[in-house]
Symmetry: C2
Subunit: 239 residues, 2 copies
Amino acid sequence: MDTTISGPSCKHCLARQHCLSARLEGEALDSYEQLVCFYNVPRQTRLVTRGAPLTQLYSVRQGQFKTETRTPGGASQVTGWYLPGQMLGLDALADAHYVSDAVALCDSAVCAIPYQALMTAMAADPALLGQFHQLVGEELVRRQSAMLMLGSARAPQRMAAFLLELAQQQAKGQEKALRLCMPREDISSYLGLAVESVSRLLSRFRAEGLITVSNRAISLLDVPRLRQLAMPADEEVPL
Amino acid sequence: MDTTISGPSCKHCLARQHCLSARLEGEALDSYEQLVCFYNVPRQTRLVTRGAPLTQLYSVRQGQFKTETRTPGGASQVTGWYLPGQMLGLDALADAHYVSDAVALCDSAVCAIPYQALMTAMAADPALLGQFHQLVGEELVRRQSAMLMLGSARAPQRMAAFLLELAQQQAKGQEKALRLCMPREDISSYLGLAVESVSRLLSRFRAEGLITVSNRAISLLDVPRLRQLAMPADEEVPL
DNA sequence: CGCAAATTTGACATCCCTCAAAATTGGTGG
DNA sequence: CCACCAATTTTGAGGGATGTCAAATTTGCG
């Protein structure tokens, strides 16, 4: 967390339609803008620290973050990726302390939103409250999807699902081109696989013509086949 | 969802201190009670249906629920256990449709809370809003813990963590005795293991004197050793 | 008592992790 | 611009944990 930028308004923000301000117009939007504070977050910077008391929530404006926590045994595990429009720090709602670290994967920018002020603003503005709950709900659903992936998908399915999800979120429509800011180790941690397995899977996908890999830049060549791969082989749709 | 019971008030509810009404007193509590509706939910009943539009949230008063969703491939997977004080239906916040089924594992009771009315009540009462956000946050943290378990723990660790978590939640202090209302298949689904592995692990734990097993009734004999088992063997606490 | 469902146990196959080493990449200084 | 080094990534070989298949046993319930 470095430079404060006073300038950029929500109106020109690319993440606008997905972030907290999505449903706000006119005066409500103005007062929301007064609430938030813009920051640039250089690559590798830790924006949120596990265990620290909740003071701000963050809305990703630009760039890419990962969150990670520690297992009971002490090893760290990546729990999610955060792209423009998504909020960081929501798990601190439980007991007013952040549960995960949030680290910028590339040079990024966020809006910081003071939590207490947000609470009062939400009480006064149903649109804001509604949007907040939607974002929280999406966070719940994302984690649930991650659980499903980890609990029931084999390694190739996990990788395919990961690539598709990231491509979809990253481009929100334009897909295919995909810039992975994260090292293989982060991916392996997120997918619950060994680094070597991740590497092997990417090689295999490349050999099969599903993707092209040039270090951390990946293109999806055959999205339909990836989608098919992302489902478990066994097909059951009883009722 | 069967009988409506007009009677039991929050004041005598065993789940009171953990549920939405936890921070409410006097008049605020009264108006909350007018909001909610009590139901008995017989064993095996589906209280929430995946895909249905969000109308109510539910607070478990008594008993035990599981939630389950379908993987992209169509197989169903158990995603969580819900005990008194916890809320069902929160993942519907994302797009106003429930994402999971919720099924009673034994005869249970819930409070149904109309979502729209709750929203307006929260806008008027900061205590209610705060408690709601705390419950949502706890839900996020639980799912994150589940992700950690599925992503980085071996089978014995998963089982140990599962037993400890359930025992802790179930008794909130008195531990040890543990009544599993769910079949092995649900456990295996939740832990991302085969049914046979679950059975083998329970047998092994029994043989090692960690627990006693009498079909679905389990007692934890050696909680400290289970705790130790629940952590991955590899110890790293860098920094 | 008898049957279907759930659970346990056993044998074997397989996926993925571990260990090891080679190859590539990115950054730094000459 | 190139050389060099650490970190990252890839590739290979082998073993262990857990899934799969099959059958025996127990439980729940009419």
